[in-house]
Amino acid sequence: MLLEANGVVSVRGERTLFNGLNLAVEPGQLWQVQGPNGAGKSSFLRILAGLLPAQAGQVHFRGQSIADVSSQYHSELLFIGHKAGIKPELTAIENLEFYAAIQGHPLTAPPYELLEQLGLVGLEDIPAQRLSAGQQRRIALARLWLNSASLWILDEPFTSLDVSGIDLLHQRFQQHLASGGAVILTSHQALNDLPVQVHTLALEYQFE
């Protein structure tokens, strides 16, 4: 078992987002967390990543509580949230250099092949803030190619991506799953095009 959540409860303000949520992720699985806006999908992902404390319940990584093994957990985790952590003042290459270095795969040369694959060639000298939303998202997602984390937690990775971008991401997911990794993501789109089994966890909007 790669990641296991037992009876996770989250209360934001006065409202209970979810009460007793369970999830068990095996290597090679892709999980989609579904639910309407405000149901707590992002909060759930942040609890799984260890960014947000749960009011009750535990999250275990390889059988150990994520709070106890946070260094090991975070070295095997890639989390890309709603705000992707791309510095708008820096270029694509400078942003990727930083993440490659802290993910343990320092770049020895600019990753032109990857940039070409992601359609970012010719834009490498432009600060990210002057690129479109979709292009910025592509920079953030380029991190998926520059790491060897076993667990990916992605909050709305397909937002602002065009069809070719979504295709690329699907291919990368497949590679990752085939090599024994796991993906947990939220998305409002159905993942029908993805040629792997998609496990789903549905959250409902709670009115209390």
């Binding site: 975070h74 400078e94 930083f98």
Partner: protein, 228 residues
Amino acid sequence: MTPAVSIRTHMKALIQRDLRVAMRQRSDLLNPIIFLLVVVTLFPLGVGPEMNMLARIAPGVIWVSALLSALLGLERLFRDDFRDGALEQMLLMPLAVEWAVLAKIAVHWLLTAVPLLVLAPLLALLLNLPGEAWGALWLSLLLGTPVLSSIGAVGVALTVSLNKGGALLSLLLLPLLIPLLIFATAAVETAANGLSPAGPLALMGAITVLAVVLSPYAVHAALRVSVN
């Protein structure tokens, strides 16, 4: 398996990135320094060019304006990182977050205190500070600025998620920085009177060590609350 990445690599990558970002926002960087210079040059015009009077108020004027100018650019420490999500990524680094915080504080010190230390002799000259006190002024700034950066980081970490944290930040920090101001001006004044400033400077050194060592823990705790 992810290769182990050392604390040094992480801190180096963070410092490098933050310096790069700062170099792209030079006006943000220059504003506090210009503010400081303007305040110090306006004082002789405001209170009159009487040399003795200027020499007497010089330590206080220089330190108060250094303190206020430090507060000016302080929010930048975590605000942008909070907005673009880099802060979350920092909390997810596979190392004790305190090290990353220390790197952020170090960058802030490099960008705000080093220009101040370079300008200090000019400020002393503008306010006719006696020659004997120049060394004490410089040492007090060298010892005091790490305290500004590290206690400031705690304040920013607490207020970063608030929309209008600016005013609250000053209210929160100024009382904490008053002891620093008292010891710093005391050191410069004793030196100006021809006495040894070792006493107040030693106390400042103690405050510096305490602030730099303990603040990363406080910042970490505050950031965990702020990113919620």
